[in-house]
């Protein structure tokens, strides 16, 4: 583990340990969820752009006792990576959050982002589509907490608006908390398998992030190494699937009351 953090703060049971000062304009949240689209997206951007981890996030109460070893270096299970210019951060986690921890984490990450002057939180995930196996290029959808922001994302990425639906899980907490605390939040969703890791869907979200934040990320590896990614992530997918069932993810697949 790196020595000598420059700053440490505890928020809602989670400790944010900064190894470098961190104040990006946008923070991408790449959490394990439907098709692991967010996790694959975040991991790919971190690898392709060779981002460095600048913040470790941990909780001895709400996360399992995990230390992750990366290239021989011990790390926290949840980490924020930063681009060279410090304008974009990517949050990755090696452990999926349990339903009770999701709420605390959602609130904590929004409070932390606000304290660091982050303008936009970008949540990346999949939207379960039963016909995914027939779709070559998954559709991209967007939900945002400001109409102007939603319009901007649609114009830049060609994403479709989601007129009605239910969002379940950590991103729903982030969306509500960000609105409450005056932060922009964009949720990018790509058609995906619910319970199979979906690098094809991640290609769509990586492309969208490239357009939105001026980063150049080649997606060829996601295509070429899709089989390996699926094999490596199968156990994380199974853990995530268990937790999705418990957090009431099935509610995403029914109409809202107002739609009825």
């Amino acid at each position: 583990m790196y020595a000598n953090p420059v700053y440490e703060e505890e928020i809602d049971g989670f400790t944010f340990i900064e190894y470098e000062r961190f104040a990006p304009e946008a923070l991408v949240l790449a959490l394990p969820d439907v098709g692991l689209v967010g996790a694959i997206t975040g991991l790919h951007i971190v690898r392709e752009l060779r981002l460095r981890d600048v913040v470790g996030i941990d909780s001895y109460n709400m996360l399992p006792p995990v230390t992750v070893i990366i290239d021989g270096v011990p790390k926290h299970p949840v980490r924020i990576y930063s681009t060279e210019d410090g304008k974009l951060g990517v949050l990755l986690t090696d452990v999926p959050f349990t339903p009770p921890a999701i709420i605390a984490f959602g609130v904590a990450v929004v409070r932390y982002a606000r304290s660091r002057g982050v303008k936009t939180l970008v949540s990346v995930t999949g939207i379960g589509n039963p016909a995914r196996f027939e779709i070559e290029k998954p559709n991209l959808y967007v939900v945002a907490n400001r109409p102007e922001l939603e319009k901007e994302v649609i114009e830049k990425t060609g994403a479709k608006k989601i007129p009605a639906g239910i969002l379940v899980g950590p991103y729903s907490i982030v969306l509500k908390e960000a609105s409450r605390r005056g932060l922009d939040n964009v949720v990018l969703l790509a058609d995906a398998f619910v319970d199979i890791p979906d690098p094809g869907a991640a290609i769509v979200t990586v492309e969208a992030l490239s357009k939105l934040y001026g980063i150049k990320v080649d997606t060829k590896k996601l295509e070429d190494e899709a089989d390996k990614i699926k094999m490596r992530l199968r156990e994380l997918m199974r853990e995530t699937r268990n937790l999705m069932a418990k957090m009431g993810k099935s509610m995403e697949y029914r109409p809202t009351l107002m739609y009825t």
Binding site: M62, P64, P100, P130, I196, D227, K230, E239, N242
Partner: protein, 144 residues
């Protein structure tokens, strides 16, 4: 006045402690379900067999069963019973090596095997199987 404030503060402290305790207990109970996963992974390690990830989609008159089998050799054996699908095959050794590299625990993976129970009976004679990359797509009409 100060006594009231003191007892209020004490009450708040107890409340926060209780909520924190409840939260920690709830979180710990979630990881109990990891026991099943642990058992399965231990079996995987000792037998070198993994279970393919499968998505079962109910399309009304038929099921679509998507089996994700990366690195699995083409001679995959798929057997059908009226309410059950059994999948068995071998994973390419080189694929495992190049996928997991130095991860010692994964080196033993050689085989895939899974048994999946369907909610309704299927018509075995009407089944079609298609391979699309690492995916095996099985269309199984429901028995009328």
């Amino acid at each position: 006045m100060s006594e009231d404030m003191f007892s209020l503060a004490e009450e708040m402290r107890r409340f926060i402690e209780r909520r924190m305790r409840e939260l920690v207990e709830a979180i710990q109970s979630e990881y109990v379900s990891m026991e099943k996963l642990f058992e399965e992974r231990m079996r995987m390690l000792s037998s070198g067999t993994i279970e393919p990830l499968v998505s079962i989609i109910d399309e009304g008159d038929h099921y679509v069963i998507v089996v994700e089998a990366p690195g699995v050799k083409s001679d995959l054996d798929i057997r059908f019973e009226p309410r059950r699908i059994i999948i068995e095959g071998y994973v390419d050794e080189k694929f495992v090596e190049s996928t997991f590299g130095d991860m010692v625990w994964a080196r033993s993976i050689r085989k895939v095997k899974g048994e999946y129970v369907l909610p309704e009976e299927i018509d075995i004679n009407g089944i079609t199987v298609e391979r699309k990359g690492s995916m095996i797509i099985i269309r199984a009409p429901k028995k009328r």
